[in-house]
Symmetry: C2
Subunit: 434 residues, 2 copies
Amino acid sequence: MYLSREYAPQGIGLGPLLQRAQSDKASVKETVRDVLDTVRLKGDTALYQYESQFDNATLSSLEVTEKEFQEAETLVSDSLKQALGHAAKNIRAFHQCQMPFGEHLVVEEGVELSRKIVPIHTVGLYIPGGTAPLFSTVLMLAIPASVAKCPCVVMCTPPSKEGKVNPAILYAAKISGVSKVYKVGGAQAIAAMAYGTESIGKVDKIFGPGNRFVMEAKLQVASQCCAIDMPAGPSEVMVIADRASNPEFVASDLLSQAEHGPDSQAMLLLIADREDADVYLDKLEEAIAVQLRALPRTEFLLSSLSHSHAIVVCDGKSACAVANAYAPEHLIINTTNADELEKKIENAGSIFLGPWSCESAGDYASGTNHTLPTSGWAHSYSGVSVDSFLKKITLQRLSEQGLRNLAPTIETMAGFEMLDAHKNAVAIRIGESK
Amino acid sequence: MYLSREYAPQGIGLGPLLQRAQSDKASVKETVRDVLDTVRLKGDTALYQYESQFDNATLSSLEVTEKEFQEAETLVSDSLKQALGHAAKNIRAFHQCQMPFGEHLVVEEGVELSRKIVPIHTVGLYIPGGTAPLFSTVLMLAIPASVAKCPCVVMCTPPSKEGKVNPAILYAAKISGVSKVYKVGGAQAIAAMAYGTESIGKVDKIFGPGNRFVMEAKLQVASQCCAIDMPAGPSEVMVIADRASNPEFVASDLLSQAEHGPDSQAMLLLIADREDADVYLDKLEEAIAVQLRALPRTEFLLSSLSHSHAIVVCDGKSACAVANAYAPEHLIINTTNADELEKKIENAGSIFLGPWSCESAGDYASGTNHTLPTSGWAHSYSGVSVDSFLKKITLQRLSEQGLRNLAPTIETMAGFEMLDAHKNAVAIRIGESK
């Protein structure tokens, strides 16, 4: 059996099953603190040194040149260019309709309130290196920044040993409006964007995924000087299915999550009686076995499945209760009554409805964002959206009469809070004091 | 002279002047880590012990009882009740109009995307104790939570030595929809809300101001398990004025900020020629001297003014450049062309336009929120609003045809990212593989 089976007809006592793996981070914290301090003190010098040490790359400059961008464009195949264009169109369209409007309200005579929407000036995107070139993440971060009209969008990504950035990443950056790309990876890239160096300007907010060093670096700078998109852990999916759900589809969704890394989690909530459940789960196991044979990344797949579970629940209500407790990054509701169940979901990053909405559609091309809260953070965070690249600034304009009308209220409250200078700012204006 | 004078006609080289005070936090970090660990391990026992140790309060229970609420209501004066009612009405009205709508988009045939708006389930508000009862902050946090329809809103605030909570705080909590109030303060309150104890349930997000122990505790839990509103430092104001601005008004605004605490900052940007500037600043100094005589909290006022500055700039454009670099929590534009300057401001928590819009109007009663980004965080953060209490969850529903249309794009991208199981989830569905 690939998935452990748990029977929880009331959806109770699942606590330990729904826990995410916790990594011991003491040594990561120390290493990251050291990298951050070094970059802050030594700037570019530290970046060149770390790129040599961690990425085996000897760089002559950090910034990707116009020539490299042009070269990249010739190296990307037409089929990939077309796919990226299609995905970018959908991502842009959905994020465009997320653009908020400011409000304006005359709350009482002479008291005019409003909010204005302002893009964050300089945003930094981090795109990991590693085995696969994550050009899809470039689209998912740079397009909302472009829709929000952020004036300056920079990107850091680790170079290959040859000092090159994957052409598909550069092409994706170009079509989605990234201003500058730098060949820096890991915690040192986060440090460079948070503090600024000679080559890389300080940014206001950092976005993007990464390994535990990158994530720890983001958390550390977030408490010092630079906002981040959200804390993050390993990727995860929860699938809600019932007897009518095609087990091959369900198997393929669990596997597509499990291939992300060894610590991904692929959870199944099966709505069924105990006997039906076992019949269904046997079919599912068989489908997993068949599909596994044709897939690479077997080590990641098996490792992820080993800490994933199939949880059997008695009804849709229990399924939703478990899903809300787990707060999955991705929630696939592959049942005929998906819409009805979805109404009960309050904690999830993104929801996929019905049999045809596989997670990979949203990962790449439907138009929703794939940067989503993991590790239960969907209890409080939303995924990345245009909002993540905007600020809202409140404004007020009072007339003399407006202030006179509000004065007794302000003065009474300031008096009871023992803030006399607050009271004085009103009294001086309406001629009460001096 | 209360304010140091700096002449920077080009708005250049101001870096050091615009720096906020940095406190050395190593010992605070250690103490807080210890308090957090103790509360996580010992729960209520630790809370009772810390309340005895830090607040000199011997408590028999942590939760404020219905009887205490009723008692509080009888103790609050009618004038304060009326003032709180007036402020609450305006705060509710302005936050009500911030309520966003979800989007819905058929991005291409058979690909339906949307976002739904969901309140964060359980939010925890922290209200500091200390010299003044901050009932205004209760309104500023609990009313947006109520507008957002958060199902569970709890509050922690330190009790007096007699084990009581200030009646105005309880009354404000009651009229703004707080579910439960607990008598716990400091880092231990943050720990209780972040981890949960026997008496206090774990919350999803913590809001509210506090001393450096509270702030450090919020930062630490934010990287572990519980979202927070924003990082925060001492309160601050920047006033943009010119020769036509009433110096008494300007003095009163600087002083009303300076009284918050010894580390508050009250900055003036004066648009003037050098000679005019000195004449104006002499008048301002005189107004400060006169007003200071009538105010208590002299120690805070003088301490804050000692690290505040009057910066003279040659024109409105330079003033806005300096303001954007400083990114003030509160920005008062007390000039006749306030609207024109405001258009150039992109970094500020809240903006007050014209001579009659004193900061204390927004602090208490106009309806805007007073929980705002300090210490330059206005470069990336907005103040607290209804948004802070909501999540947005993306949804998608694909039809079979919708998936077929997207399939080549998804499969091409997944292939180049070497995520074959992602590709497989599409292929299985459209009958390409097995």
